[in-house]
Amino acid sequence: MGTIAKQLRKMTPFETLLLMGLLLLAAFMSLPIVFIANHAFKPFHELFLFPPTFLAKEPTLTNFYDLFLRPGATIVPFSRYLYNSVLVSALAMAAVILSSCMAAYVLSKLKFGPKRIVMGAIMLALMYAAETVAIPRYLIIGWLNLNNTYFGHVLPVVASPVAVFLIKQFIDQIPNELLEAAKIDGASEFRVFARIIVPLAMPAIATISIITFQGVWGDTSASTLFMQDETMKTLPYYMMTLTSGAANTVAGQGMAAAAGLLLFLPNLIIFLLAQRRIMETMVHSGVK
């Protein structure tokens, strides 16, 4: 705190003005977040109060209680959606980290016949938004019999060009001499990967885990397209059913607000824990 005060005192009038402006803007930008946090704790009568209030006056846990314990309009209990979401996100993160690290290591440090082609394909695929080719994906999932399985949630996100790209850029900074020295000492390729590459690439790994987590945790498309069985769908999908559809807009509001907060919090916590490492990765994030 002391350093902050000292830095603030050293500021020029222009900088002070800038700081005020940016803090105001930041407050404005984070209004939705403040709103989510408060909305979730509002009792039912406050949700539709006129004039609308921003902060909860009599905070209550009713919304969470409803969300967790009352099955509501569906037969599937809330805990099942939560369990699906947690499991899918964890599996996806593990799979993306492992496969992207291995691929990035090869692309950065090893010889590999079609390396240039693969790298070119990845650069192109950075552009790829899965949304544009939803139909073929839907068919492929069907052919592979992945409907209503956790594989159907996880496999389509495993190949993440952004993840491979970010880690590759990061591994490029690791000096080759280090790897050669380890190999001379008799370390196998796998050992070099596990003992040198992975620990040194930790900031990049932290970054892609949070990007992957955000993507998968908030994703509704897999649940909508690939999962026909209600018990295999995830939390954001359930949340979507609470807010869309005229019948639910009133009754589901409180529950939706609580679910919204639950969807947001993990993202925030992970980001706060990894913020410094993320910025470190972004320094090397250039497309070269």
């Binding site: 050293k10 709103f35 539709f48 496969s99 010889k111 949304e131 607000a257 919204g260 910025m279």
Partner: protein, 303 residues
Amino acid sequence: MKLSLLRRMWSERIAYAFMAPFLLCFASFILLPVFMAILMSFTSYDAFRSPHMIGFKNYAALLTQDTIFMKYALPNTLKFAFFVGPIGYLLTFFLAWLIYQLPKSVRDIVTLAMYAPSMAGGVALVVVWQAAFSGDYVGYLNNFLMRMDWIQTPVLWLQDPKYLLNVMILVTIWMSFGVGFLAMLAGFDTVNRELYEAGRIDGIANRLQEVFYITVPSMKPQMLFSAVMAIVGTLKAGAISVQLTGLPITKQYAGHLMLNHIDDYAFIRFELGYASMLSVVLLLFSYAAMRFSYRLFGPKEGD
């Protein structure tokens, strides 16, 4: 010849093994879908009978018959992409630059506040946007404007075709300070301080010139990365109208983007061939956008 290739592959077997998990998923969930989309775009396919080739008829129909595409989807998408893409991108850069002028300790807090909405993601924020832009007098925006005496009756923000697209643009820009924004912020750190000194000697007079001649060229890689991220983000944002209004097709096609058009043909009308053709067109658009970004920020020969 063939034997030597095999021998080389054998000596590189570890590399292949390391690449295998990624390549398999990459091939089956990215490459294959794109190829299938291209193939299917030349067929007529309703998901029940097997597809049959009809050549360029889908493309011809798009150009000559699809009035909804020409009247709504295309102009909406262009307007949306223009504001969320280039304008949003400049805004991101400008804000990142402003934030970078702050002392380090406060910077993190402001960054977090800017980044948070993109982190919360579309689904979690639906509650917010629906409450903020609600059409009755309980909506936050209506309530605020009425209390300020700027409007007399509540505005139907999400139902009135006049406003929906603008609301979508606003909301998307609000949520667009994501990974690309972080990359830019980090990019400022990579600029060599001595360049500024040198620039001042060479006659750079103000901050604007400094940004234009030194900062941007020095952080081109980060600029390119965040441009690519912005384009992808813009493409993905098609779902926003559905999330805001709760309808797969918005009233009078007011918020109809290309992505909604694809969903309409694919999952409502089951004309998968036509929908695939639309996705191919969208892919071509995004490819063109990427070529353009590379032109601007990509590495030049000899760099």
